[in-house]
């Protein structure tokens, strides 16, 4: 239990995908302009992360390892991720056209979100429960910083940011200071 908790905290905070490993920066910057896109995006990513972890884990242990084809894992995993994203997109379009409109191109782009590939490659050698805990932790960490970053950016919209820093520069600066803050967890767990 304690080991799983450490795994969760490690994935969520200490080795946060965005702020420590610098993975998944595209949706991090792209969908964080508003909270109403960031929250569904983090939920969608979390959903894809968990599903992709389970799917790739089954694929890896039941197909690739018995067939001695471990070297195919990157391409096979991308396959699996693409399928999961495809399903998620269909589902989101169905339940909320507004959301689908808001997320725009970033929803299909979860496919190429390196945080997900990074996650499934990291957890490929763990046991299934461990991998799932790691995936939940990583998804939680990703969602947390995405939502927090979106709330900060919403606040910055009413700030008197100098012209040279308006828009992307101040957002990146903000992301940098967030990474600085998360450096506080260095060495934990």
């Amino acid at each position: 239990m304690a080991e799983l908790f450490a795994l969760f905290v490690g994935a969520a905070l200490v080795n946060n995908f965005v702020l420590v490993q610098f993975l998944g920066l595209c949706p991090y910057v792209g969908t964080s302009k508003r909270l109403e896109t960031a929250i569904p995006m983090s939920l969608a990513t979390a959903f894809v992360m968990l599903l992709a972890t389970v799917l790739t884990h089954i694929l890896y242990t039941l197909v690739l390892i018995p067939l001695d084809l471990e070297y195919l894992r990157i391409i096979a995993f991308i396959f699996a991720i693409a399928a999961v994203v495809q399903m998620t997109e269909l589902y989101v379009r169905q339940i909320s056209p507004v959301l689908h409109q808001l997320l725009g191109i970033y929803l299909p782009l979860i496919t190429s979100n390196c945080a997900i590939l990074g996650l499934v490659l990291t957890v490929a050698d763990l046991s299934l429960p461990q991998a799932m805990v790691y995936a939940v932790g990583g998804a939680f960490g990703f969602g947390l910083v995405l939502v927090v970053f979106a709330s900060l950016r919403e606040r910055l919209q009413s700030a008197a940011v100098p012209a040279a820093f308006r828009g992307a520069p101040v957002a990146l600066l903000c992301a940098g200071f967030m990474a600085l803050a998360f450096a506080g967890f260095l060495g934990m767990a």
Binding site: R34, E154, Q157, S158, A160
Partner: protein
């Protein structure tokens, strides 16, 4: 201090109100065109009539002046107390023996009244805190009686007159003169100012001007004039404005406990609609937050514009609803008409 232009002629015959009919006094007040000088500008005669209709039993002379930086009413009470009290008695003569009360927020004026004493008039001291001079708050603190927002105090038995109004009543009835000037806190100095004086003619141009106190007034230009309801003319503080540092002091002083800072954030945010609309509408513009703000933010101006925005938003929703109802009804009418027509054709065929 307090030099007043002498007047060389009277507008009416002076009236000995103690021997006059109630209707004569009311007619004189109406002829003088008196309105409430505390700020709202409610016609005096209308208030008295409503008081008669609802048998008001109390008249309050409101000398509670809690707008920071404004001392016009205090100065009037210091220098013209007998005239104000006579005005109160005149107003009292229009009703059936009401209780006459003078409410003040200044300790020294209260002391001066108590030392002298005045038959039939009670003086009450009210705490000098923001918004205590607002009439419903005042009635609440004097009689712990709550006036619903849907009714006037005069409909609940109370008539509240600003002391400057009573002074004007006294002059109109006793001396027979229309109000020509009023006591104004002019850049921090109490001065008699002729009505309809343009702000530009008072001097001190160049700076931003406000009609009313710095806290509660509104922005004014050189072409605005001093009217009966002007209690102060002040400089604006726009030049001292800094960014909000979110200290929360405005929240702490708000007598209605409104989230002033959160409202400010929504007002200043470029993208979001104002969701704190009921809070914005609940602000009664006492100006306490403006006084407290260390960054000199014109909170009241911003809140006033937010009120307009909230009202527009509400109007939009109503219009949308009414349009939908209209569309449904129009479709219904057309359907009904076509049915009537076809039945008419049917009946004709049967002939």
């Amino acid at each position: 201090m307090l030099e007043r232009q002498p007047r060389n002629k009277t507008d009416f015959q002076p009236l000995d109100w103690r021997r006059s009919d109630r209707d004569d006094i009311m007619a004189r007040i109406a002829a003088a065109g008196l309105i409430g000088m505390g700020g709202a500008g409610f016609p005096v005669v209308a208030k008295l009539r409503s008081g008669i209709q609802y048998a008001a039993s109390t008249i309050i002379a409101n000398g509670v002046e809690c707008e920071p930086g404004v001392n016009a009413d205090r100065a009037l009470l210091r220098h013209y107390l007998p005239d104000v009290l006579e005005g109160l008695r005149i107003a009292g003569a229009c009703l059936a023996k009401p209780a006459l009360i003078l409410a003040v927020s200044d300790q020294s004026i209260y002391q001066a009244f108590v030392d002298k004493g005045e038959l039939g008039i009670t003086c009450r001291l009210v705490a000098d805190a923001p918004s205590n001079g607002e009439e419903r708050t005042l009635i609440g603190s004097l009689f712990s009686d709550e006036i619903p927002t849907t009714r006037y105090p005069s409909q609940c038995g109370y008539i509240v007159f600003n002391v400057a109004t009573l002074f004007a009543i006294c002059e109109a009835v006793r001396d027979g003169s229309r109000p020509r000037d009023r006591l104004v806190t002019l850049f921090g100095e109490e001065t008699w100012v002729e009505l309809d004086t343009k702000l530009g003619d008072i001097g001190q141009t160049g700076a931003t001007l406000r009609l009313g106190s710095t806290a509660t007034g509104r922005m004014a230009s050189n072409d605005d004039v001093v009217s009966l309801t002007t209690n102060a003319v002040e400089h604006g503080i726009d030049d001292q404005q800094r960014a909000c540092i979110h200290c929360g002091w405005c929240d702490a002083v708000c007598p209605r406990h409104l989230p002033v800072e959160a409202m400010l954030r929504q007002i200043q945010s470029a993208t979001r609609p104002i969701t704190l609309s009921s809070e914005v509408n609940a602000c009664f513009e006492c100006g306490a937050c403006v006084v407290q703000c260390p960054s000199a933010i014109p909170l009241l101006d911003l809140l006033r514009s937010a009120k307009r925005e909230v009202e527009n938003e509400r109007r939009k929703q109503v219009a949308d609803l009414r349009f939908q109802q209209h569309t449904v009804r129009a479709a219904e009418t057309i359907k009904q008409e076509s049915i009537t027509r076809s039945t008419r054709i049917e009946t004709r065929r049967q002939w």
